[in-house]
């Protein structure tokens, strides 16, 4: 019986381990990789042919499905394919329209600031932006990168003027009369006699930035004496360099002279606490010592408490009548913290695939500032549609999967060139049947993309050297790192730069872009008609990658 059972089991496991379906998996692998290559070949051919032949992918797909059938004759392999284009694009925030609009073209106006008060906590709407979904059947899933050009206004300073309420040490007469300006005086007629004051009871909010610390004195003398003023931030262990006044007035001026001790240490709230902070007055003799009178020794602290806030968005689908068809997400793509300096913040958001219900609908994106620490008198700003800003600093959303509207958009091929961010792209969806294996309707999509983004152009007038910094990326926004000098063609102001006159350097930028980049150093000594101090450069960079796919990016740079 054991022998019989073993035989059956052996047969069973051997059957399943060596069943023919493994061969079909091999066919699927081959067809998928081959299909990817067909799309790449077609895109390479398309981008290198003048005029553009947008039938090349369709022709190749048609031939490919026939050839696959021929190669696997007897397996019942049937492949069909068609070109479709939808890939990551950037929508820029524009000021036109009500609500505002999102457009594929970068900013084209002088810009406007959307603003809201930061006087209360919570999310405050800055602006609503819409993008029409005409001609779009779906928005595939992708990770959006939402960029915000945002900041908040200068935070008004707050001032505390506090008086002492203790006299930790000293030899002056009636020292407590220095607590307030009441025309009663602490005094000394002893040269070098000191009197310390403490317990100023400062209540500076946590998170505040201390901008200035000043010690005041209201004093006079019966003779020619001066007064020395200093302060300590560690309970008398360390003292600031003492300030010595000029000759004091001969009567009470009823006015406070302020001495700035801001630079004496790096101030913080702890150093101003009663446990640490104290001031000191000293009588300074001039000739024969006479009495020095001190009416008041206050301390003035200037500080700011910045608000705390970040940017984020809501997304939804809007009907043509302005009502919400579907709220997609709330409070996503959170940025870093706003500061008093304008900066380009960003946040990411994973968009799930959405099938468009009605092509008269709109994609709506609402920009918010989320205030976590409020501050009266402070305003949050979002800058939009400012053509004076670099593309990288525009308020925009990158990597939204939308159909291309490049120069050509037929049969899954498209290019969008001669812009700071340019690309060539192709995509095709296939359906594979293998009847002998019972496989039917196996769908897969292959895409090819080459993108070039010129991020910076810099001109060194002394070396006559133009530096072009750019990022080259392919599908899934993976940076391309295997390019060499021969993969680049550069022209400046319409003149091609010879290969011996430029150098290409690849490096990893971990300061701003966190990716591999290329710097192209162009020596323009030999460039004809170059004025002595050129102000404008039309930079054109052509990239042909190792797959033969071409992209031309262009940027107008003005010094």
């Amino acid at each position: 019986m054991m022998v019989s059972v073993s035989t059956i089991m052996y047969s069973a496991v051997t059957y399943y381990r060596h069943e023919r379906w493994e061969e079909y998996l091999s066919i699927i692998d081959n067809v998928k990789l081959g299909s990817q290559r067909v799309v790449e070949i077609s895109l390479a051919d398309y981008t290198n042919t003048t005029p553009l032949n947008n039938e090349t992918l369709r022709d190749n797909l048609n031939q490919w499905v026939v050839d696959v059938k021929r190669a696997y004759v007897g397996f019942g392999v049937v492949l069909s394919g068609s070109g479709t284009v939808a890939f990551g694009q950037t929508l820029y925030a524009h000021q036109e329209g009500t609500p505002y609009t999102l457009q594929k073209n970068p900013s084209d106006a002088s810009g406007t600031n959307l603003s809201t008060s930061m006087a209360s906590t919570g999310r405050q709407l800055l602006g609503r932006f819409v993008y029409p979904l005409i001609g779009i059947t779906s928005i595939p899933a992708s990770t959006w990168i939402v960029y915000y050009r945002a900041w908040h206004s200068t935070v008004p300073a707050e001032i505390l003027i506090n008086s002492p309420s203790s006299t930790p040490a000293g030899t002056w007469t009636n020292p407590t009369d220095g607590y307030s300006s009441n025309n009663q005086y602490a005094n000394t007629e002893t040269d070098e006699a000191t009197q310390q004051y403490g317990n100023y009871s400062f209540n500076v909010p946590s998170g505040a930035t201390i901008n200035k610390v000043e010690v005041g004195f209201e004093a006079y003398t019966a003779g020619d004496e001066k007064i020395g003023i200093t302060c300590s931030w560690d309970n008398g262990t360390t003292w600031a360099t003492e300030y010595t006044s000029s000759k004091l007035p001969s009567s009470d001026p009823n006015d406070v002279t302020w001495v700035d001790f801001t630079a004496s240490t790096i101030w913080n709230i702890d150093k101003l606490s009663d446990a640490n902070f104290r001031t000191q007055a000293r009588g300074v003799k001039q000739g024969k010592m006479s009495t020095v009178y001190l009416d008041w020794i206050p301390v003035r602290v200037t500080y700011t408490v910045p608000p705390s806030a970040h940017m984020d968005v809501n997304t939804s689908i809007l009907k043509s009548d302005g009502t919400i068809r579907q709220a997609i997400t709330t409070d996503v793509a959170n940025s870093g913290a706003l500061t008093a300096t304008a900066q380009t913040l960003s946040g990411t958001y994973t968009w799930a695939a959405y099938t468009v219900v009605d092509q008269t609908d709109y994609l709506e994106i609402d920009y918010y500032v989320d205030v976590t620490t409020a501050k009266a008198g402070v305003t949050a700003y979002l800058r939009i549609d400012d053509n004076a800003l670099a593309t990288a600093d525009q308020t925009r959303i990158a990597n939204i999967m939308l159909p291309s509207e490049g120069e050509e958009n037929e049969d899954g091929l498209t290019i969008d060139w001669y812009k700071p961010e340019s690309f060539s792209a192709a995509s095709a969806t296939f359906t594979l049947d293998i009847t002998s294996a019972g496989l039917s309707g196996y769908q897969f999509t292959t895409s090819s993309l080459l993108g070039v983004r010129i991020v910076e152009v810099a001109w060194d007038v002394s070396k006559k050297e133009l530096t072009i910094s750019l990022i080259v990326y392919k599908e899934d926004l993976i940076t391309v790192t295997n390019l060499k000098k021969g993969n680049f063609r550069v022209s400046v102001n319409g003149t091609d730069i010879k290969e011996e006159d430029f150098t290409v350097v690849r490096y990893y930028d971990n300061a701003t872009y966190n990716c591999f980049m290329y710097d192209i150093y162009c020596n323009l000594f030999k460039l004809p008609n170059l004025p002595p101090n050129p102000k404008t450069f039309l930079v054109s960079v052509e990239v042909i990658d190792t797959r033969g796919i071409k992209v031309v990016a262009e940027q107008l740079h003005q010094e």
Binding site: G34, D59, R70, T546
Partner: protein
Amino acid sequence: MRKTRNRKGQMRIIEAILASFVIFFAVVFINTFAVTPSSPTYETSELEKLGHNVLHDLDDQRLLARFVYNEEWKNLTAALTVCLPPDVYFNLTIYELKVDVSEVKLVVVNDNAPIYYGNPKVFETASSVASVTYILPGISNQYQANYDPRILILQLVRG
């Protein structure tokens, strides 16, 4: 009055569990031995998998198209020799699809430069020869982009 409980049923369950463990471990044990089948049918299947994986990997690294379209036959032979086990002999034939008016012909591309490893007579005498079909659509690189398919037939046999 004291009742006596019948516990025989519990033992049956324990026996059944133990028996299922024995069967399970037997399957695992036999499965291990099933990796190297002696049957010519299964031997062929193993070699086909091996051959396909090698071609697919070379294609994935963009080497296969380069070797084929640039006719780098020595490099292609070396790559296959390195990738396949030493006891596996191969013979690769590359065909070009020629379409006449009414018929499609497969024309051998490497007719004058056979791509093989091992004694060619083994392919005639072996009881099981595996055959892998692989299709390349064309080549695209910095200098050319052509849809021009090639069909690769890789024969494999254990020496």
